[in-house]
């Protein structure tokens, strides 16, 4: 039976517990809620929470732990001979799991007679045929060890699931009973509910943090794996990026420097476009624009933030690139031959800068608006003009926030992928010419992992090392942003 039903069962128990708890509370107060410590619904919630929370917690843990435990048991029982040459225990285990799930589905749909399951000497080619007919994905002909393993996998997970049902429902009922026994006029249900709400909020916050930890750990382990296969110095100091897909390691050159250079170059161009335009737009909107202009212009500017980056990529590829070529390319208006094709650092940088304008302007606008009016009044009162006031009083006061906004935009620029893929090309190159095609770390992560990639080769694992480098880079940038903000805040608050 699906897990959804189990969830419904627990919810129903909790709902019944809520109603009983509430009624019990009212009757223990002789029908007058003023005799109770808390409002009746708090008693109900106390019961419902006590039945739901432990039950769901155990459910989640069980769902995660059961396949892991069963897999390890089954795979330890697999004979060495069951693993063919060129394959691994992991691949065989996924075959076992597929078979086991396929058998369950085929039995339900009627394509497979459940009697076969009891017979360990069943005709495997017939079973394979039946599974294929049932639309289950079985890649190869079943072998005896896999079939045995699949059967034991299936029986263990069936037993496990049954046990899970029993335990979870028992827990839900036990929790409800515990809550009901507590319910009497003097019980501080309100405080109990308050505490549990606090823990719920803590849980939500920890999920966000734990996810981050999980992402970092997966990056770290894969990166370590990569550095076992590929020398670390070549990765960090290699000036050539030339992965080969045919061979396994050895022939590939996986130096990060050209990619890092491309990333930084494009980001710098993007910020050079976005920061002045965004900041000036923010100053205009917050200081000069009348209310009606502001109410129209600000949402329009923020529309830019809603455009998908792939659309920006198309804009770079089809509009900005050819435009730049017609100016800087061969036979262009300037008569210089700097740019060979539409894909270039400049193309991607300019378009990325346009994408970042709303980030800079929207954040700076809020920050400038937060500068107290009294400072402006003080400056006007001394006979300063509006632009003098902005330059000498408002912007210095808003500086930490603006720096924060710019660094946030920088993080976005470093992590941007689509615009680079379409606008800057895929050639990893160390060059100073901004009109040449280059590529970035993110674009290369995509290209290393698209298509059929074998996750044990350095050519695929390098993506994790690249991702790790990028992560550390943006983390450093964010820490630096916080440092700047705090330093100035101390001085100016």
């Amino acid at each position: 039976m699906p897990i959804l039903w189990l969830i419904c069962a627990v919810l129903i128990i909790a709902a019944i517990g809520f109603v009983i708890g509430r009624t019990r509370a009212i009757s223990s107060g002789q029908g007058d809620i003023r005799n109770l410590h808390s409002l009746p619904s708090y008693y109900g919630w106390n019961v419902a929470l006590k039945s739901m929370v432990p039950a769901f917690f155990v459910l989640i843990v069980w769902l995660i732990a059961q396949p892991l435990i069963i897999s390890s048991v089954v795979s330890s029982n697999l004979p060495e001979t069951a693993i063919p040459e060129g394959s691994s225990a992991g691949l065989i285990m996924s075959e076992v799991q597929r078979t086991s799930n396929g058998v369950s589905a085929a039995v339900i749909s009627g394509d497979l007679d459940s009697a076969v399951l009891a017979d360990s000497a069943a005709d495997l080619s017939a079973v394979t045929e039946a599974l294929k007919n049932a639309g289950q994905i079985v890649t190869t002909e079943l072998t005896q060890p896999i079939w045995d393993a699949a059967l034991s996998y299936r029986s263990m997970s069936n037993a496990g699931t049954t046990a899970m049902w029993v335990v979870v429902i028992a827990l839900a009922i036990a929790g409800a009973v515990w809550g009901l026994r507590q319910t009497n006029a003097d019980f501080r249900a309100r405080n109990t509910v308050e505490t549990s709400i606090r823990y719920m909020l803590i849980a939500a916050a920890s999920i966000a943090i734990l996810t981050t930890v999980g992402i970092v750990l997966s990056l770290v382990f894969n990166t370590i794996e990569f550095f076992r296969l590929y020398p670390i110095t070549h990765f960090f100091f290699g000036t050539e990026w030339a992965p080969s897909f045919s061979g396994r390691g050895g022939s590939s050159e996986l130096g990060i420097l050209p990619l890092l250079w491309g990333t930084l170059y494009i980001s710098v161009v993007a910020l050079a476009v976005a920061v002045p335009i965004g900041l000036f737009a923010a100053i205009y909107l917050s200081e000069y624009a009348s209310k009606s202009v502001r109410s129209v212009a600000k949402p329009l500017l923020e529309v830019l933030a809603g455009i998908p980056t792939i659309v920006y990529g198309l804009f770079a590829l089809l509009t900005v690139g050819p435009l730049l070529v017609s100016v800087f390319g061969e036979g262009g208006y300037l008569g210089v031959d700097w740019q060979g094709g539409g894909r270039a650092v400049m193309t991607a940088g300019i378009v990325m800068g346009i994408m970042l304008i709303p980030f800079v302007s929207s954040l700076s606008d809020d920050i400038i608006n937060a500068v107290p009016q009294s400072l402006r009044d003080g400056s006007y009162g001394l006979g300063a003009t509006q632009s003098e006031t902005i330059k000498q009083v408002v912007l210095p006061a808003a500086l930490p926030g603006i720096v924060g906004a710019v660094l946030l935009a920088a993080s976005r620029a470093i992590g941007e992928t689509m615009i680079v893929v379409l606008g800057a090309g895929a050639a990893a190159r160390l060059s100073l010419n901004p009109f040449e095609a280059m590529t970035t770390v993110t674009a290369k992560i995509v290209s290393q992992l698209t298509g059929d990639s074998d996750f044990s080769s350095p050519e695929a694992l390098v993506a994790f090392a690249l991702g790790m480098t990028l992560f550390i880079l943006t983390l450093g940038l964010n820490i630096f942003a916080l440092y700047i903000v705090n330093k100035y805040r101390e001085q100016y608050d």
Partner: protein, 265 residues
């Protein structure tokens, strides 16, 4: 300073610095100031008193066109500074504000060093020929603001790090540094403790030697202590204007008497 023998206070008749004629101020449809006529004398402290919302701050702000920064505000009538209409189209409000300085209710030092706070006005108006000149202007302003001794060793520290009373005196020094002719003060002591208030009041009395000072205050004791002339505003009207001693001891209008004796307000 703190004696209340108001009758004995000598008030010389001096030149008229600011003359307001039939001034009306509107906030949108709200008629905030009605038919105000007042002559503010040079080298005198003039106090504006009255209950909250009576328009005294609004009128003060219209004396250096600070109301221009509020979109919906409209001023009618004539306000003459040394005989020239400050609402004339020829007049640059920025230049006007350099001549008519302002100190605000809440101390508002800029997020800069103490030195740069005071040097702000002289710099934008080009009052100093060189660095030494500017140093001199800053020192003189800080001395006039009666804060020099407290800050002379930490001129490069942020002005926001000073205490509330010091900040307000810094703001006064900042206003003085631009060499204004008139100094407008909008409840300059309302955010200060009694000691800081006493220091600022003493300072105001000293400033009278060089400037015409107009101060808005909620404290009648303060008006009585620091001012030579007092104007009482009520519901947008200038009810009574005269010598401080006369207003506080022998008011003509019954509303003034009710206010200063605490029956309305």
């Amino acid at each position: 300073m703190n004696d209340m023998r108001l009758i004995d206070r000598a008030v010389d008749m001096k030149d008229i610095k600011i003359a307001a004629r039939d001034v009306q101020v509107y906030y949108g449809d709200n008629h905030a100031i009605k038919d105000v006529n007042v002559d503010i004398a040079d080298k005198t402290v003039t106090a504006f008193i009255g209950p909250s919302g009576c328009g005294k701050s609004t009128f003060l702000r219209s004396l250096n066109r600070m109301n221009d920064t509020i979109d919906i505000c409209r001023v009618e009538g004539n306000i003459l500074l040394d005989g020239e209409d400050i609402y004339d189209k020829q007049v640059d409000p920025v230049q006007l504000r350099a001549k008519v300085g302002m100190v605000f209710q809440k101390p508002n030092p800029f997020p800069k060093s103490i030195y740069d706070n005071v040097a702000y006005g002289p710099r934008i108006h080009g009052l100093a020929k060189n660095k030494a000149d500017l140093d001199e202007i800053v020192e003189k302003a800080l001395r006039r603001g009666a804060i020099w001794d407290e800050v002379k060793d930490r001129l490069d520290k942020p002005g926001t790090g000073l205490s509330g009373g010091q900040q307000q005196r810094l703001c006064i020094a900042r206003a003085v540094a631009t060499e204004p002719e008139v100094l407008l003060m909008d409840e300059p002591c309302s955010a200060l403790d009694p000691i800081a208030t006493a220091q600022v009041e003493e300072l105001i009395d000293e400033l009278r030697e060089n400037y015409s000072v107009v101060i808005v205050t909620h404290s009648m004791q303060q008006a009585a202590r620091v001012s030579q002339k007092t104007a009482f505003f009520h519901l947008g009207n200038l009810v009574e204007y005269g010598e401080t001693g006369q207003i506080f001891t022998n008011p003509v209008d019954p509303r003034t008497e009710s206010y200063i004796t605490g029956r309305i307000g």
